[in-house]
C-alpha cells in the first residue's frame, strides 16, 4: 500500500487470495473475448485470413479496453459490488485485477505471433 503526503491511498493491492480469484476470472474473460473477436473477424470477413494470426498494438489495446469494461459489467451482474466495496476494493483496483491476465496474455501473443 502507498500513501500520498496527505495520507490518502494511492495504490492498494488487495489480499493475494482475492487477487487470485479475480485474476482467474480475468484470464477466462480474456480468453473468451479473444476467441470471440477472432471468430467474429474470421466469419465477417472484415480481416483477411492471412492477418487473423497477426498481433497488433491497436488490437491489443482494444482487447484491454474490452476486458476492463466487461470485468466491471461482470461484477455488477454478479451483484458483487457491495461485497467488494466492503472489502475496500474500488473500481480502479478491480479493473487492474481483470487487466493483469489480459495484459500478460497480449504480451505473450506479441512474442509468439507475427506483427
Amino acid at each position: 500500500m502507498t500513501h500520498s503526503a496527505d495520507g490518502s491511498t494511492l495504490l492498494r493491492v488487495p489480499h493475494a487470495s482475492i487477487v487470485r480469484r479475480y485474476v482467474a476470472r480475468g484470464l477466462i474473460l480474456w480468453l473468451l473475448v479473444r476467441l470471440m473477436m477472432t471468430a467474429i473477424a474470421a466469419f465477417s470477413g472484415a480481416v483477411p485470413v492471412r492477418d487473423l494470426a497477426r498481433w497488433s498494438i491497436a488490437g491489443a489495446l482494444g482487447m484491454l479496453g474490452a476486458c476492463a469494461l466487461l470485468g466491471l459489467i461482470d461484477v455488477r451482474v454478479r451483484g458483487e459490488r457491495t461485497l467488494l466495496g466492503n472489502l475496500g476494493i474500488d473500481d480502479r483496483e478491480l479493473v487492474a485485477m481483470y487487466l493483469v491476465p489480459a495484459a500478460l496474455g497480449e504480451l505473450l501473443l506479441s512474442i509468439i505471433l507475427p506483427w
Binding site: E80, L83, L84, G85, L87, D90, E93
Partner: protein, 251 residues
Amino acid sequence: MTTILAAECMAKAFGARRVLTSASLRAVSGELLALVGRNGAGKSTLLKIAAGFIQPDGGSIHVGGRAYLRVSLPMLAREGVFYLPDHDLLSSAFSIGDQLDMFVQQFGQGDRADAAALLGIASLLHRRASSLSGGELRRAEVAMAVVRGPLCLLADEPYRGIAPIDIEIITRAFRHHTSLGCAVVFTGHEIQSVLAAADRVTWCVGGTTIDLGTPEAAARDDRFQREYLGPTLSERVIEAEAKRRAAAFDS
C-alpha cells in the same frame, strides 16, 4: 461516547422527487441507533449516502475526524465502516466460508469460527448464498460484518422477512458489536423488535430527521404516534416498553 460517522444536512433528489432536504445521522460508538420512518421517507437513501453507496446533492459526511463532500464505500470501508444492504451483499460465486475468509485476510483481523458460532451458520460455511433461506442468508450477511469488526455498521432493514429467532440472533450480534465500541445504525419497520433493540431512535420524516431519544421517549412522542405508529401499535409499544423497563429493573 465518540461520534464515529456523521452525515449532516444531507439532500438528495431523484429526478423531480426530493427524497431528502436536510437529513442528518450520527453514529455513536457503543450505541444502537434505529432509523425509522414510513416507506419512501428516505431511510435507505440516507443510509446509502452515509455508506458512500450513492452520492448526495448536498451535505457533508464526517468520518475519522475529517469532513467530506463525497465519499465512496471502498474508502469508508478502509476507515472501518461496513454497509449491510437490504439485499445482495453476498456473491453466489463463492461459498460463505470463502467470503468470510476474504474479510479476515483483507483486513487481517476477525475470527471466522467465532463469527459463524455467534450467528449460528457454522454448518452453512460450505454453501453458497443462492442455496440459503432468507433467515440463513441474513445471518450469513451479518456474520461478514462481525468478522470484519467495523467501527461503524450501517444495516438497511436487517430484520425484513425473517423469523423472530433470526431477529433475536441478529440483535445479539449487534449488541456484541456495540459492547466492543462499534456504532450500529439500522433501519426497519418491525417496530416492536426495532424499539426493543435500539438505544436511540431517529425518525425520518418529510425529507428531514428528528432525534426522538430513547425508545421509551419515541413511543410516547405524540407526533410519532400519530404519523407513524398509529393508535393501536402505540399502546402496544408503550406497554411492551413498560414491561421491558420493569424486567430490566428487576434483573
